[in-house]
Every structure is written in C-alpha cells, then in structure tokens.
Symmetry: C2
Subunit: 229 residues, 2 copies
C-alpha cells in the first residue's frame, strides 16, 4: 500500500505554536521533506527540530526563487518525483512548511503534482499574521471589520486601492518592496496605524511603528499590519 503525503504547517517560528496534530504526525512520519535554501538550511525544519523522530530520514529540496518560474517548476518536478518514490514504497511523508501549507506555502506546488495519484492530507497551522496581531496586542478583527491580506509584490495602483479600502491590512512579502510600501502608507496618512513586525514569534522578534522606520529594504519574512480603528 502506498504511503500518505502530509502537508504540515509548523507555524510562524516559535515551536510551541505548532499544533498537537502537527507534532503527532511528524513524530510518526517515515520521511521528513522540506524546502531549503541553497545551503540546505530550512527554517521549517529548524522550527520542528525538537519533534523529529530519531529514525526519520530527511529530504531537503532547493527551489530557486527567480521571477522566471521554469527553474522552480523543474525543482518541484524533481522533489515530487523523489517523494512519489517514497510513497510508492509505502512510506508516509511529512512535508514541512513555515506558517500554513496553503498560505503562500511552497507545498501547494508539491501537492498539485501528487494529489491525483496519492492520498494526501493537509494539516493546517497558524499563518504569521495571526501571531503578529498577538505580538502587537492589537485585535486583528472586531465586529464588522474586514481584513485584506495582500502581497507587497502587487502593482502600486492595486496596493493603494486595497490599503485604502480595508479596515485592516496584512502585507506579506515585504522584503525588497519595503520602500514602495512605506511610501504608499505615508501617502495615505496611515503610518501611525501601521506596524512592521519582523521575525514574529521568534527570539529576535521586533515590532516597529511605521512612523519610526526608514526606507531601506527588510528581511523577506517581515510583514506590515495596519489596523485603522
């Protein structure tokens, strides 16, 4: 019998923000798969480190993050092929993802390649923006408010419209788009209502009101939260 592929979100960074279910399934897995950088380093693996079974085999796959998707697609093809071999051999594979597996997670690309032929299960987890509102101690949503979750990669006109119309906004993928985003928030007179949250829930977590930021770039995993109330 073929193994099961689990897409397991490990949350925003603090290992204690993993779910009971994620920990249980990681402990039972035969193979722990994870996306990693060129040097083989994986933040998702680091988050789950304390819960890895000693007997598990690990499989890291590097995906180049170019605008051109061809290299990424080839990397996902190869990773999916290796995972399929494990599943064919009856091994259960836990594929780890920072945050949630289906929330800007690379697991979506592994999933779309294997879901037709294999048994798959998605184990949901907390996206980083939820931990950010806890860190800020500002409720994300009350009463009839809405929340716009947007990537900083969008065109300026779309960003302006969405930031202007939402009662709350969470901006992902800030990184090298920080300067563009900061100008838009300033233009809309929202700097005092906006906070930059870096490395949320991790030991180096840092919260800065956007009034007090400059226009340099930021780490990829920075996010900006705007609460207008």
């Amino acid at each position: 019998m073929a193994g099961i592929l689990y897409g397991i979100g490990v949350g925003p960074g603090d290992p204690e923000l993993m779910t009971i279910k994620a920990v249980k399934l990681i402990k039972q897995a035969d193979i722990i798969a994870y996306p990693c950088n060129k040097d083989g380093i994986s933040i998702a693996l680091q988050i789950a480190q304390d819960y890895l079974p000693k007997t598990a085999k690990t499989f890291g796959f590097y995906v180049p993050m170019n605008v051109d998707r061809q290299a990424a697609n080839q990397a996902y093809d190869a990773a999916a092929e290796t995972i399929a071999e494990h599943l064919d051999a009856g091994r259960n594979v836990a594929c780890l993802c920072e945050g949630d597996a289906f929330f800007y997670g690379s697991f979506a690309y592994i999933f779309e390649r294997l879901d037709d032929e294999y048994s798959t299960k998605i184990i949901p987890s907390m996206p980083a923006f939820v931990a950010a509102s806890a860190a800020l101690k500002i409720p994300m949503l009350i009463q009839n408010e809405d929340l716009q979750i947007i990537p900083a990669t969008l065109d300026e006109a779309i960003l302006i419209d969405k930031i202007r119309t939402g009662s709350n906004v969470a901006i992902y993928k800030v990184g090298r788009h920080f300067s563009k985003i900061r100008k838009i928030i300033d233009h809309l007179n929202l700097l005092p209502k906006a906070n930059l949250v870096e490395y949320v829930s991790q030991s180096q977590q840092k919260v800065t009101c956007m009034v007090n930021t400059n226009e340099e770039t930021r780490p990829y995993f920075s996010m900006i939260i705007i609460n207008k109330r």
Copy 2:
C-alpha cells in the same frame, strides 16, 4: 503579585489543532474563563476539555449578542470585574476563545478592559478559514494572490465590490445572511468557485459547492471560501 491574564485561542474545533503553547498554559492556569451561551454551554471549553487541569476553577460568562451593544458591554464589564478579582488575588486566568482570540473573538472586549492595569498575554491560534482551505484541499494563497476576509454583515454594495475584486475571499458570520451572500456570488458568476464549509475540523464537518446550496439560512459558524483561480 497580581496574576497574568492569557487570551488563548483554541482553534476551529478539532482539539488536536490547538497549539502546544495553548495546552501548556491551560494546564497551568488557576482559573479557566470562557464566553458561554444562555445555558452555560461553551464551544471553546468543549474544545479544550481534555486539557483542563482537575484543580482549575472555571468561570463562564454569558454575553447577549444583540445589535444593541449596551447589554453586551454590561456583560463584559461584569466578566472583566470578576476576572480582575482573580488577578488581584494572584491567580493566573486563561480566557478561552474559539479560533484566535483577536480574530472576531470576544476576548478583545475583555482585553480592552484589563490590559491597562494587568499583565496580559495573547496566545495566537489558527482561525477557521485556514482549516477550511485544508478541508477543501484548495490552496488559499499562491504567488501574487490576495485574500479578502469579510463579514457577511456588511452592506450589499460593499460585499459585491470586495468579492468582485479579491483573488480569494473568506466570508465569516454567514448564518442568517446566507441568502444575501448566495445571491451576490451567483450575480458575480462565482458559485462554481465558492464552497460552503460548516463545522470545519469538527466531526460533523460538511463541505458543499455553492452551486449545490439553496437559499436557506445556515449555522452561525458556517463560512464561505471563494478561490477564483
């Protein structure tokens, strides 16, 4: 020394979707507080049931959910007063919330009454929409997509605009607004891309493509997810 007030999200329903941190803090708490209905029943308490310390005292508070906020405000005042007495006596209080404490959670109202005077900590958890995308097996966000999280209580014109412009949409508080929402989604030709998710992650979980729904009302904790890709 005064106790600490913890706002603890217990996730969408499956107790295994609680975080390691939530379980740890609930087990250590002196007082377990929770919002409940008129009959004293609390879904948040039921979710956390297996992790309640045998020695903990529980404190349920009923909040009337009228459009008029006065009765609700009085109930929150009274609940905050009782919680403050426990904190003054040096007892740590864990206030449980379905989903996440700051995501349409009633904890925001307890928090705003006590945060100035007492030490508070927010323990974030998974909002229901994340579990819904896992149940649907449809990625919530990929690449440059955005997500609009909106309550069904908004005016029709605003709902139409937000549902039309978002690449993905999660609609909360569907309940008695189901018929209105269904008409809007139909009008935008999005019924085949929309799914109704009821009791997500619980044993009675039910997923229905909106094409196959009628125009009756739905339980308060239904949600509709639209993925346009």
